[in-house]
């Protein structure tokens, strides 16, 4: 096929990609994004399927049957966990403005510069073989297309480098990548056009692969049944379907699945599209089944194509990695072959473009800029616009990465199959897994642990996987691989510590990940975190806590002039974007920046996160440090507090609870104390009153008895008068004593004071019976207006009897002899029973109607003198009635009599 036509078609295809990207960017600028949906998100993740898948799966299948599958099974299994793991990573990355997998790692471990540098080296070195196989696949597919299949003599490989089409492919891809991803700086590293183009490529490569598959299965054969039936006749194909013959063991499958499981998230381009370019975490849900579905579809025709290639292409022409192109080509389907090349080109370019962009971001943000910033000369030379310089760094990075990849392909890669080289990269990227996943859930994982683990894993990987490929092309002595360095056999790269019987990938993955994980865990246990590490670990592990905004993350007590901050943003983001950011800041936090001269901690944090989007977290931190003053002591304290926030919150809640309890107790104690004091006062009062009441009769008794003693010859009448007084005063004393005892009885919490159903009519009759004689003497009438049926109340017999006795004797006292009429009656309701004692005596003055229920209150007036009694009767009655939950009160019109009421709870009969 004419090279010119091929170049025209390829150029046209790339032009289409640019159109799609341009259109998507335009739509995004208008706010009508094309890519903000789960389908595009899932399709962009299918960048996982590169030329490796497009060509290499068939090649692998031709070699080892279903051995191509674990690379897809790992991601499918992992998709089940996306909602937990990927979602967490995305949320963290959004809040921290993470720009790459290395940035993620560096941020997690205290925004460490050196971890970023180490990580970048690991990724760049690790990915070079992977990029090289894309170059190889594209170049070889073009070679087959132009030469009509595999040509013995390896035409292009003998050309000098400057005429090698492979170099042109590399240069062209570098240009595409720069145009796609390094045209301008975006603080979020978001490229909607790129995502749209990648999604299109995913559709395109799948469609092409399915078309080729359909052609092979239904064009060259009569469907799957026919194809497999024929394949079964071949001894070597038959063997491929047998696990043991194909050299597949469960150990190998396990490690391949594990490596691919890590790769689908940790590969720079996967992380870039899955995390950095993610527009909404909600897309994960649908992508988690759409992406596996895509993997299933693209694998359906792998075995048919591989078997058909083995059957139809003569062994000397057979290049299994290119069966997809050769089968149509050798069967006269030139156009389909061209389409296949285009599909492979699509798969390869997608990977190369996204990978190199992601690598260039890492190289500039996590390696070059931090290192440049550490040298003072550059810091002083900040005068020019750094954002341009940053773009320059990225463009150069892309070019260098592709050239190195080309070199690897040119001198090393072409000796190996696509898959075996690709797996080397998978094993390299898997070295991030321990530090990333452990760091995601274990706060105590330290920067030192991550550094040691990553370094150990990387060195082991380099020694066991990359070194042998270098040795084979005589970069160094082959004897190192064959018999170990210095002839020490247990150091052989393919049988480390004497571990044999594994293929090289399994062997390398096992040792590197074991040493890596061990390094992370053990070193973390024996090293300390600095304050920034503590805070970052907390922010990562507890992202959901911070996500809800329950904790105010304001630990950076920093200050800088507003001018410096603005200048910095201008230099790194350009004036336009800097103004937009500051404007949105002042709107969001309603701060008028034009009136400020100093930038507060909030603004500095805001600026730093947005700068981190452009130049990485570690660089942004370093740059901010040059303009912002921070107080290391208070900062350290803040971090310690942050680390213990949870404990503090719990502790303070406990304290709050305790203090509330204490307050409650204090209140109760105070109340009890008040009551005691009151009681004390009452008691003192009471004693004073009682002694006074006692003193009066004693005084007269003492004086009169002395008179009687010293004057034996007193006239009989006088003697009788004196003796009468003696008797009545003695009675007064005994009455008083009895009532004090009564009072004592009502005030003591006496368990024997049982409240029970008491029949009231009977009780009233009993109470009044004792007054018959007094009533007759004073000629006072007593009427009992009681119902015939029984009336039950809650009370106790003796105390309640005393109440009625007290009320009756009061009524007697206040009634005039000969004229007095007393009524006792009751009114029985459903819940309450009200009894009353009514007299027609002097009545009670309104001002006294409340006080008469106090102790030692006696109502008297000048005309009548003092009534007999202690002044305790009503007081005692009140306490008794209240003890039953009842009430006692009086209604009276002075001169017309008084009525005392008692209300009590009605009760069921006993």
């Amino acid at each position: 096929m004419s090279p010119l036509l091929i170049i025209l078609v390829l150029t046209g295809y790339v032009g289409l990609l640019f159109l799609i990207a341009y259109y998507a960017d335009q739509r995004a600028a208008r706010g009508a994004s094309l890519v903000k949906n789960p389908l595009i998100y899932a399709l962009s993740l299918a960048v996982y399927c590169t030329a490796w898948t497009f060509y290499g799966s068939v090649g692998r299948a031709a070699e080892s049957g279903i051995g191509f599958l674990p690379i897809y099974l790992g991601p499918v299994l992992f998709a089940l966990l996306w909602w937990i793991v990927l979602r967490k990573i995305i949320l963290i990355s959004k809040s921290q403005r993470i720009t790459s997998i290395v940035d993620f790692l560096s941020s997690r471990y205290g925004k460490s510069t050196w971890l970023g540098v180490l990580g970048t080296i690991v990724v760049v070195v690790g990915i070079i073989p992977y990029i090289s196989i894309q170059l190889k696949a594209i170049t070889f597919s073009l070679q087959h297309l132009t030469h009509g299949g595999k040509v013995p003599g390896q035409v292009w490989e003998n050309l000098p480098v400057y005429l090698d089409p492979g170099l042109f492919v590399a240069v062209a891809l570098a240009l595409f990548s720069i145009l796609f991803g390094a045209r301008n700086l975006d603080p979020n590293e978001r490229h909607e056009g790129l995502v749209a183009a990648i999604a299109f490529e995913s559709i395109f490569k799948l469609a092409v692969f399915l078309t080729v598959g359909l052609f092979v299965t239904f064009g060259l054969y009569d469907g799957f049944g026919d194809l497999f039936r024929q394949a079964w006749q071949f001894e070597d194909i038959h063997a491929l379907l047998d696990f043991e013959h194909a050299g597949i063991d469960s150990m190998n499958w396990f490690w391949l699945m594990l490596l691919s499981l890590f790769a689908v998230l940790l590969l720079p381009r996967q992380f870039h599209l899955a995390v950095v370019e993610n527009t909404s975490v909600d897309h994960i849900g649908r992508a988690a089944w759409l992406f596996p579905l895509y993997l299933l579809l693209i694998n359906v025709f792998v075995l048919p194509i591989a078997f058909a290639g083995k059957m139809l292409i003569p062994p000397e022409m057979a290049e299994p990695d290119l069966f997809v192109v050769d089968l149509p080509l050798l069967n006269g389907q030139g156009f389909l072959a061209l389409l296949a090349v285009l599909g492979g080109f699509s798969a390869g370019t997608g990977m190369v473009i996204v990978s190199t962009i992601a690598l260039s971001i890492m190289i500039s943000n996590n390696m070059v800029v931090p290192l440049l910033l550490r040298t003072s000369t550059v810091r002083e030379g900040w005068v020019d616009d750094l954002s341009k310089r940053l773009l320059g760094i990225r463009r150069i990075s892309i070019a260098i990465v592709l050239l190195v990849a080309y070199a690897y392909f040119k001198w090393i890669g072409q000796r190996y199959t696509l898959v075996s080289v690709g797996l080397i990269s998978f094993a390299a990227v898997a070295q991030f897994a321990p530090a990333v996943f452990i760091g995601l859930y274990w706060k105590r994982a330290t920067r030192m642990g991550a550094m040691v683990g990553l370094a150990l894993g990387f060195l082991t990987w380099f020694y066991t996987l990359l070194l042998p490929t270098l040795a084979e092309v005589h970069f160094m002595g082959v004897h190192i691989v064959e018999s170990g360095p210095w002839g020490i056999s247990w150091l052989r790269p393919d049988a480390l510590f004497g571990l044999k019987g594994m293929d090289n990938i399994t062997h390398a993955a096992f040792w590197s990940l074991l040493l890596n994980t061990g390094g992370v865990v053990l070193v973390s246990l024996y090293s300390r975190q600095n304050t920034l590490e503590i805070s970052q670990a907390d922010l990562f592990v507890e992202i959901y806590k911070y996500q809800t905004g329950s904790i105010d993350y304001d630990v950076m007590r920093r200050q800088a002039t507003l001018q410096d901050v603005t200048l910095l943003l201008n230099r790194f983001l350009g004036e336009h974007r800097a103004n937009t950011l500051l404007g949105s800041y002042s709107r969001t936090f309603s701060k008028d920046l034009s009136k400020e001269t100093m930038a507060d901690a909030d603004l500095i944090n805001y600026a730093e996160t947005h700068l981190a989007g452009a130049i990485g977290a570690a660089s942004a931190k370093l740059i901010m440090r040059t303009i912002a003053k921070e107080d290391p002591i208070s900062l350290e304290e803040m971090f310690r507090i942050l680390e213990q926030t949870q404990e503090f919150i719990r502790y303070s809640r406990e304290l709050e609870h305790k203090s509330a309890e204490l307050q409650q107790t204090t209140r109760q104690l105070r109340q009890a104390n008040e009551q005691l004091k009151e009681l004390d006062l009452l008691k003192a009062d009471f004693i004073t009153t009682v002694t006074h009441e006692l003193r009066t009769p004693i005084t007269s008794i003492k004086a009169l008895s002395k008179i009687l003693q010293e004057n034996p010859d007193l006239p009989t009448q006088q003697r009788r008068e004196f003796l009468g007084i003696l008797v009545s005063e003695s009675e007064r004393i005994s009455r008083l004593i009895n009532q004090v005892l009564d009072l004592e009885r009502t005030s003591v919490e006496n368990a024997e004071w049982k409240i029970e159903p008491v029949e009231l009519t009977q009780l009233i009759r009993h109470s009044s019976a004792g007054f018959r004689q007094q009533l007759e003497e004073k000629q006072i009438q007593l009427h009992l207006d009681l119902p015939d049926e029984n009336v039950w109340v809650s009370a106790s017999v003796d105390p309640l009897t005393q109440v009625f006795v007290n009320l009756l004797s009061n009524a007697l006292k206040f009634c005039e002899a000969g004229k007095g009429v007393i009524h006792i009656g009751l009114d029985s309701g459903k819940d309450q029973v009200v009894a009353f004692v009514k007299d027609n005596g002097f009545g009670i003055d309104p001002k006294d109607q409340q006080t008469i229920f106090g102790q030692f209150v006696q109502v008297s007036n000048n005309e009548r003198g003092k009534p007999t009694g202690s002044g305790l009767g009503l007081f005692i009655s009140k306490r008794i009635v209240e003890r039953y939950g009842g009430r006692i009160w009086v209604e009276s019109v002075p001169g017309e009599g008084a009525t005392f009421f008692i209300s009590l709870d009605a009760s069921a009969p006993a």
Binding site: S700, K702, S860
Partner: protein, 127 residues
């Protein structure tokens, strides 16, 4: 002692049974005795009676003994009248010490008959 023989005494207490023995004792000494059962009653009798000694209960309903004493001091023609308070012990006794309008003496209840006679005699003698 002739002066004593002709002395006029006013007894004031709301408890009649306390006044009975005091009246007897004072009459036995040959004094002229009148009784009042409240502060107001005492003030009604005083201007016309002009006693030499008032035996005054402190704790009485209505007007208490201190109030009665204060009013006695304001009445004309009673400058020579001496007041003997009869108080209960305790808080009242303390108040008594703080009360000084001049010339008063006090006795606590229950009193001793001879002591009462003696004090009244002394008051009359040095009054």
């Amino acid at each position: 002692m002739g002066q004593i023989k002709s002395a006029k005494i006013l007894l004031v207490d709301d408890e009649p049974n306390i006044l009975v023995p005091i009246e007897f004792l004072m009459q036995q000494q040959g004094f002229e005795v009148r009784k009042a059962f409240s502060g107001q009653e005492a003030l009604d009798i005083l201007p016309g009676y002009k006693p030499d000694v008032v035996v005054l209960d402190v704790m009485m309903p209505g007007m208490d003994g201190f109030e009665v004493a204060k009013r006695i001091r304001k009445l004309p023609g009673l400058r020579h009248t001496r007041i003997l308070f009869l108080t209960a012990k305790g808080a009242e006794e303390d108040r008594m010490k703080g009360y000084s309008t001049g010339g008063e003496v006090y006795m606590t209840k229950p009193f001793d008959n001879d002591e009462l006679i003696q004090i009244v005699a002394e008051v009359l003698e040095f009054g």
